[in-house]
Amino acid sequence: MPRLELYSPEGLRVDGRRWNELRRFECKINTHPNSSDGSSYVEQGNSKIICMVQGPMEPKLRSQMDVNKANIEVSISIAHFSTFHRKKRSKNEKRIVELKTAIENTFENSIISHLYPRTFIQINIQVLAQDGGLLAGMANAATLALIDAGIAMYDYVSCVSAGLYDQYPLLDLNTLEENDMSYLTIGVIGKSEKLALLMLENKMPLDKLEPVLGLAIAGGHRVRELMDEEVRSHGKHRSQRQ
């Protein structure tokens, strides 16, 4: 099998983007107003993710209660048909548990949780299709759903992945690219350069980390703009209706 030209000498990637271009990013909020307190739908390229948030609510078990702050729990379910080859995944698969923990940690620090003591916030994420940037897509969906639920946050957490091919940093990888290079996923807080999330599972040379991170942060800001646009237009739409 000849290798793919992941980044051609002419500067184009397998799907025709340049190194610093995002994939198509589309999002909606308040998609399931009747079944949840906040909901969202995110498409990042061909990755499609739904997120629903319940809460803040009374915890079902006493063990889930914290007198000082809200207890946040994430549950992830990945559809069997989300990849080209159908594959059953159990909820307790190690990889999924890891992703779940990463998202929980991210939002525990981004939600102003001391405002909601003795409560429980449940974030349900449903992955419908995956084509790279899974963690980024899930975290973006969660951000939007939390905003829709009206839960107080410090700022947007906007996520995007970036990888290193040869010596070139590439933004927002799809599956083909993810399979062939080392990459990281970051979550940027608002317009700052602070990170709420940084996940790097492969090796990346230290001297290349900086340009990759720089590119990812710029990409994160762009994602934030797109999400902000949707939130504002939705807000406008709602206020007109009332």
Partner: protein, 988 residues
């Protein structure tokens, strides 16, 4: 299939590519995003529109606008060329030719199609684009809004791609010639597909077939010959043979999966070109493929798929020598199953699987050493498909008998080309200049081998010159061994320091250069170099001095090539692809440009040079106390030849510091060597000879066996010492990707035959294989008191049973497999010759990274990239060795012309119709056929005793066995068919 398009805010349009992929027999629908854009530039300097569209790469570089604004004229009009896939695939040689094809546009569609069809051609095309010399550009039409086409309903993929390519032509035409370029530039679409041309013409595109296009060029006559015969078949030769058609791809894939067919590389026997073997992991023994019918058009080293033959066809490998003798039939004399093979096609898979199980059983039985017959029996197979052809350029000559003498016409005629490589068949080519090319070495390329044609067909590429002219022969052997010998391209030379040979080590070491500060100034040490006489690329130098505590300081200084050859430059790429310098008798093919190799890097005496130093503190018994690696600046005091150094050391009257330090070195080196031998390092031998050239006429003069002096081993020991220390260091820092070299212990089966021979012919002598120490000791014991040379002979033969040493990234094996068997060390690498080996360059970079001198390039930290590098340098290293040997062989042949004599030789192999004799004095080995020995009919071959009984030409009974010392007359003869000069041996 197309889907709806969406425009994004960033100016891109997204659509999706949907296709069905089959994997493991099931179909999967794949959906991928596909972005279309309007900012892809046309790469033409004549264009005024695209300049503002250019976007830079992450490293800030912008693409080079290459297409000339005054391209070549075609019938008085300037033109750009757009090529179709079939042109690239069939005429890549022509595209690379410097006489034609400038300013070529390659649509991405073509590039992708080429990549899927043939990866090597794709790589050649890519390097053409990269070299920038012929102004080839890739236009990414699939990502351009204006040129992307969606597949229509019912349209085949091929038709869609053709349409996409035509769209590129009209887009370019429109783009350049509509209120843009000042001068009109025509676009010529070169395509060999008639239908596509017709459609193109209907769309108003100027199009030509390759032949028609070439005819229009100024040098048409010369170029015309180079066009491949792809579309004009040798109709007159159809149905002269009927090979079995290859199985369909689906059948092969299914067969390989359910283990009824087997995949492997075909390896044709050196001694019998009708017998090949395929090594398959499922069987311990290789599968035999015998006869042209079963070989079924496969070439040596093709990746083939084979099918087992029924058990009654299994046989032992033939012990007969068959060389491609005459022009006429050479079908296997013992190929008697013509009818039977034809009916094999109907045996169901189930039965074949059974057969495969049988074969495994038979082999296990045989290897456990049951009966004699089974011991020899090998499963046979036939080729049913070729997955990857090994076709490349071949060198050969036109067979004189295939050209009729009375033919004076100018029409092109078919004739045969006999290749230099004897394991390959003749190639049929068509040329007008057959007569002119007789007696010349020519390069041809193979195009196809139809099932109906007895011989493969190819086309002429170029002529190298007269047979036996030194130039033609040297070039031929370089081509045959795939050695890149063309001069360095300009973009490579541009990477050299701008000062050229004026480059100097800066005088002021404190000039703010951070890296320079990290260098150690060792100019005070008494460094000298010891090399072969007339050595111009000195890559190592040494120093030693006693320390106050009674220990010694020893330094090995290696040319700092990586200071000049930085990673990810054109120069580095070129070095990586050449892999090694190649040393021939009369010339040297450098890995790096001359300026570096013989000047800036070379550690010449009396001048400051950058070096990479390894400095040890060792005690009196040469045990390491400490070791330090550092980049340094040195000044060599003297460049000795081995002989001069030896003389200086031996000369008692010389007592200056430099001589003293050399004596220290010699002393330590002896201790190191003894230690190594105690550990079981092997002392193997090869019949190496050296050809002396007459310095004025550069005719080869005489042949001599290489002499070894103590100083040779002095240098060698310290180089080994340095290599081992460096290997440990880089493995420590880069456990996954350190570039190392290993030498696997030989498998017992390699020594089976030699041990059999020894025990039968030499009263139970035996080479034991438990470990290298045992092997070394048993080799020492193989002594024939009557014959001094016998021990060397056994060493030479053992060398051939050894595995080849290889480079590898450390992550590929466990630590216990790093062992270098021959040197008896647990870890080893090559560090000491960066001027002539690419491995050493990688090791230098890794060591520099390990000591924190500079960051290690990404490509040497990535396992996949390292694998790629390693594969290439292993191959190059092997080829360079073969080329070197072939060069010596050629010159020895030339020397023999005036030196025919009677010499002593040793029989090293016995067949039932001939013997192989090695003549140590000239390092040549030759086959003597039974016909030349005596009466063929009465000869008896005793397989168990490795003896051949025969009546010689004088009707005397004679018996000759392996290891016998014989007298042979050496003559130099020219083989009329292959045009090779060989030393022929005649038994006295």
């Amino acid at each position: 299939m197309p889907s709806d398009k969406k425009r994004l805010s960033s100016g891109l349009t997204v659509t999706s590519k949907v296709f069905v992929m089959s994997r493991n027999g099931s179909a999967t629908k794949v959906v991928r995003e596909h972005y279309l854009r309007d900012d892809i530039v046309c790469y033409s300097t004549a264009c005024n529109k695209c300049a503002e569209l250019i976007k830079e790469n992450p490293d800030g570089q912008i693409p080079n606008i290459q297409l000339s604004d005054v391209p070549a004229k075609l019938q008085n009009e300037r033109h750009y060329i757009v090529v179709d896939t079939n042109i690239v695939l069939s005429a890549i040689d022509l595209l690379e030719n410097t006489e034609c094809f400038y300013d070529v546009i390659i649509p991405q569609t073509v590039l992708d199609e080429v990549k899927n069809k043939s990866f090597p051609i794709y790589q050649r095309l890519r390097s053409l684009v990269k070299a920038e010399e012929k102004r080839f550009v890739v236009f990414h039409n699939e990502f351009h809004e204006g040129t992307y086409v969606t597949r229509k309903h019912g349209e085949s993929m091929n038709d869609r791609n053709d349409r996409a390519i035509r769209k590129v032509v009209s887009w370019y035409d429109n783009h350049i010639n509509h209120d843009n370029s000042i001068e009109k530039i025509n676009l010529v679409f070169v395509c060999n597909d008639k239908d596509c041309r017709k459609k193109a013409e209907a769309e108003g595109i100027y199009t030509k077939s390759l032949v028609d296009y070439v005819e229009m060029l100024p040098k048409a006559d010369y170029l015309r010959e180079l066009v491949s015969n792809d579309n004009q078949t040798f109709t007159e030769f159809q149905n002269e043979a009927k090979y079995q058609e290859y199985y369909s791809e689906a059948r092969i894939m299914a067969g390989v999966k359910n283990k009824s067919l087997f995949k492997g590389i075909l390896n044709i026997s050196r001694y019998n070109f009708l017998q090949g073997t395929v090594q398959v992991p499922d069987f311990k023994k290789p599968l035999l493929v015998v006869g042209t019918k079963n070989l079924n058009r496969a070439f040596n080293s093709d990746l083939v798929v084979v099918e087992l033959l029924p058990q009654d066809k299994w046989r032992s490998p033939s012990s007969t020598i068959v060389e491609e003798g005459s022009i006429d039939d050479y079908d296997n004399p013992d190929d008697d199953d013509d009818g039977a093979t034809a009916s094999n096609g109907i045996i169901p898979d189930k039965e074949r699987i059974l057969l495969a199980q049988e074969a495994t059983k038979a082999i296990t039985l045989a290897s456990s050493g049951n009966t004699d017959v089974e011991h020899k029996l090998q499963p046979t197979a036939k080729v049913v498909g070729v997955i990857r052809r090994s076709w490349r350029y071949y060198v050969g000559q036109i067979a004189p008998t295939s050209v009729s003498a009375d033919d004076n016409g100018n029409a092109s005629r078919a004739c045969f080309v006999v290749l230099m490589d004897t394991v390959l068949p003749k190639i049929r080519i068509r040329t007008r200049r057959a007569k002119e090319l007789l007696g010349k070495r020519i390069v041809i390329s193979v195009d196809s081998w139809e099932a109906t044609s007895k011989y493969p067909s190819g086309h002429f590429v170029r002529s190298l010159g007269d047979i036996e002219s030194t130039e033609a022969e040297t070039e031929a052997l370089l081509l045959e061994h795939d050695v890149e010998y063309r001069p360095f391209a300009t973009n490579v030379l541009n990477c050299l320091p701008k000062e050229g040979d004026k480059w100097k080590v800066p005088e002021n070491l404190d000039n703010g250069d951070e890296q320079l500060k990290k260098r150690k100034d060792l100019r005070g040490e008494l460094v000298c170099s010891i090399d072969p006489p007339n050595c111009v690329d000195i890559d190592d130098a040494l120093h030693a001095k006693p320390l106050p505590n009674g220990n010694f300081q020893v330094g090995v200084h290696i040319a700092d090539v990586t200071h000049f050859v930085k990673a990810n430059t054109a120069l580095d790429d070129e070095g990586a692809s050449r892999g090694t310098s190649v040393y021939l008798v009369d010339r040297r093919i450098d890995m790096l440009p001359l300026l570096l190799g013989t000047n800036l890097c070379s550690l010449n005496p009396y001048i400051d040079r950058y070096a990479f130093s390894v400095i040890w503190e060792v005690d009196k018994d040469a045990n390491i106390v400490s070791v330090e690696f550092t980049k340094s600046i040195i000044r060599s005091r003297e460049a000795f030849s081995y002989e001069a150094a030896q003389k200086r050391i031996d000369d008692k009257s010389q007592n200056d510091e430099l001589t003293k330090s050399m004596r220290i070195l010699l002393n330590l080196s002896k201790k190191l060597k003894q230690k190594r031998l105690n550990n079981g390092a092997l002392n193997l031998a090869s019949p190496e000879v050296k050809v002396h050239m007459d310095s004025e006429t550069s005719d080869p003069g005489e042949v001599e066996i290489k002499q070894l002096l103590e100083t040779n081993s002095l240098v060698e020991e310290f180089m080994l010492f340095a290599n081992i220390s460096v290997a440990r260091k880089i493995y420590d820092s880069y456990p996954q990707t350190a570039m190392l070299r290993r030498h696997a212990p030989p498998p017992a089966s390699n020594f089976e035959q030699l041990n059999d021979m020894l025990s039968v012919r030499k009263n139970g002598m035996h080479i034991s294989l438990e470990n290298s120490k045992a092997l070394a000791d048993s080799l020492d014991n193989c002594i024939d008191p009557k014959d001094e040379y016998f021990n060397t002979l056994v060493r030479i033969m053992s060398t051939r049973c050894m595995m080849a040493a290889e480079y590898f990234p450390s992550g590929f094996f466990g630590y216990s497999d790093f062992k270098h068997y021959g040197l008896a060390v647990d870890i080893y690498t090559h560090f000491t010759s960066p001027i002539r080996r690419y491995c050493d360059i990688v090791v230098h970079r890794q060591l520099a990274g390990a000591i924190g001198y500079e960051d290690l390039a990404q490509s040497h930290r990535d396992k996949n990239k390292m694998e790629f590098i390693v594969k290439n340098i292993n191959k190059r290293h092997r080829n360079a060795q073969f080329a070197g040997r072939a060069s010596i062989e050629y010159y020895v042949g030339q020397v023999m012309k005036s030196n025919e004599s009677i010499q002593e030789g040793y029989v090293i192999k016995c067949f039932n119709n001939g013997i192989v004799v090695l003549v140590p004095k000239f390092g040549i080995e030759g086959l003597i056929r039974l016909e030349d020995l005596g009466d063929t009919d009465s000869a008896i071959y005793d397989e168990d005793k490795f003896e051949l009984h025969f009546n010689d030409l004088h009707k005397n009974k004679r018996t000759i066995g392996v290891f016998d010392k014989v007298k042979v007359e050496i003559k130099s003869i020219k083989d009329e068919i292959s045009g090779k000069r060989k030393a022929q041996l005649i038994l006295q």
